[in-house]
Symmetry: C2
DNA sequence: TTGTAAGCGTTATCAG
DNA sequence: CTGATAACGCTTACAA
């Protein structure tokens, strides 16, 4: 590592102590708000010395002793995806309230990237690591990540997931199966019969659980799926599925694996002259800001709240007691991308 | 700070050295890839010992000596705003390539929050701090932030801004004035005459420069502005402006201060039965993913690239030599929210 | 080529 | 109530 020119010496606790004419120990006790008793007069001398010198305690010096930094690491697939951005915002708000800093790591769903991030975060070490995305159901795909997470935990790093992972881990999430089942039930309830699904990445638990929920709702209603299109969690995947749908046959309604995909789907459908929701209803999942902008019917998943609560538990170190799995409620949000079957556009 | 139970001792360089039967110094030289010569046989012993112990060097121990952590801090207004999320993604990609971690700090445009983040980042200290959002033109509003940034720089922390700030600072950005002027020129070129503007937060340089660019283009064409609506950089601000527009009088076209606002604007207009772009053309600025989803005509601002290049310069410590101001090019992107005057929807 | 040891800034222990 | 000091894990002169 390149050592940059150290133009200015850092003012350290020793400087504060010297100016206040106390020992380093006393200065530390005052500035950390320790419970160790310090005379009021002494305290004031230290505080004013610190202010005069614009003293900022060295996080590194402190961490060397406490073996912990006021850092929370978040491993996302892609921070520019609103799903993760909203989670990250919730985390950082809770972190900031407790004077913690939030580190964002993009892993693009690659286990090797996750692994290297877990290691980097452990090297500080961060107080906690939050896995924002769901895991891969491919056997062994996450083995190394699981092992690294387990080791980090043994060293006192709190680990929390906000979606189902392939290893045991404290988890705050929603019931993806139920969420997608409820959404599909809604589409059935407004008269749709031929309903298609656009899948997310097929190895992800989020995709798998959502597809299963979709199928469950259809089975309840004694319906068979119109078609399950392979897809992905991005706009382009939805658009691609739409094009295949157009050259295939149009269902009454489509459930997409998430909002991004639903947005791409309805965009491409409309571009081809299809009336959404007049001819085809389209629904997404997550209720990210994409859903609002595109006017999508969707299922609200409390992303901000998931992140906020996970981080809150970490900074208060409550995460160790709570239950291993906490489910947050979801809720259908009806907007203008769906309509009763055979209605026309309002 | 609470000291957590240290379930497991951290394996340190001493452990590696012991297992490899070398001194700590030698182990360090091998593992840091120092230029100091080490016998090949010794090197291999150290490497295999490190592997066997699953050694991860302590970032804190290292930072205590080098006075620098492999951390880049990014101060954004709101990471859940795609504008900032796309910048953050660019930064993290460059950071990750160099084995740096990215810290995201949400400041919601509040100088006090920015200040506390700069201090927190300095306390590590981070290698660099990137200000993603533009500054406030209110005199003195950012004085304390400017001072803290200046001090951080004196200690070797690199500081870069991705938008105009009220203090001198290495800056990579686009010409907001020209961007908005060019967009307005485009609307004029397709026949619009009565053109309105929806402002961003009035104290921000980004808002001010864009409004000035808008007025400049109108002046060139000897037009007067239809109306300048107060607004903001969010969806709701655009929607609010639309409602005032409806009870006022409809212009031929509207330029919004950014894409979020433009999305809210066109959403509310359409909800009120107005044909966009048939009756009113709407354009945004930035070309965030919001623009793609909403099908907005806009100006592409290379957000990812700005973040990527800023971070790249930081990790290579090139930021000290380059020019103080670097302008990145912008580009008009035409989508379906604008059309020539008096045309009907395609 | 290897090793010894100083020192980074902080907290915590223990003695006064 | 205050202070001296060990310890944390690492890098890097300097010595051998």
């Amino acid at each position: 590592m390149v050592i940059p020119p150290q133009d200015q010496p850092i003012t350290s606790l020793a400087d504060v102590a010297q100016l206040a004419k106390v020992s380093i120990a006393t200065a530390s006790r005052v500035l950390t708000g320790s419970s160790h008793p310090v005379a009021e007069k002494t305290r004031r001398r230290v505080v004013s010395a610190a202010e005069r010198l614009d003293y900022v305690p060295s996080a590194v010096g402190r961490a060397l002793v406490t073996k912990r930094t006021a850092l929370i690491g978040v491993i996302v697939n892609d921070i520019s995806d609103p799903y993760f951005a909203e989670i990250a915002r919730g985390i950082d708000d809770a972190a900031r309230d407790a004077q913690y800093l939030t580190m964002i790591c993009n892993a693009d769903a690659r286990p090797e990237a996750e692994l290297s991030h877990v290691k980097a975060l452990s090297s500080f070490p961060a107080s906690g690591i939050i896995f924002a995305g769901s895991g891969s159901a491919v056997p062994g795909a996450e083995a190394a990540v699981a092992e690294a997470a387990r080791r980090a935990e043994k060293r006192g790093v709190l680990v929390t997931a906000l979606a189902r992972k392939s290893f045991e881990c404290r988890t705050l999430t929603v019931d993806n199966f139920a969420a997608c089942r409820d959404l599909t039930r809604y589409l059935v309830s407004i008269g749709h019969r031929r309903i298609a699904f656009v899948e997310g990445p097929p190895d992800r638990y989020a995709s798998i659980d959502r597809l299963a929920g979709f199928r469950s709702a259809l089975a309840e209603a004694s319906l068979t799926e119109a078609h399950v299109y392979t897809g992905g969690f991005d706009f382009e995947s939805g658009a691609t599925a739409a094009r295949r749908m157009l050259s295939n046959d149009l269902p009454d309604a489509v459930v997409a694996g998430n909002d991004e995909s639903a947005a791409g789907l309805s965009h491409a459908l409309r571009e081809a002259g299809i009336d959404v929701p007049g001819q085809v209803s389209v629904a997404g999942i997550d209720d990210t800001r994409t859903a609002r902008i595109a006017g999508l019917t969707t299922v609200r998943v409390p992303l901000y709240e998931l992140g906020h609560e996970a981080a809150r538990q970490m900074v208060t170190r409550t995460a160790n007691d709570g239950p291993l799995l906490t489910l947050f409620p979801h809720e259908i949000v009806v907007r203008s991308s769906t309509a009763p079957r055979h209605s026309t556009r309002p």
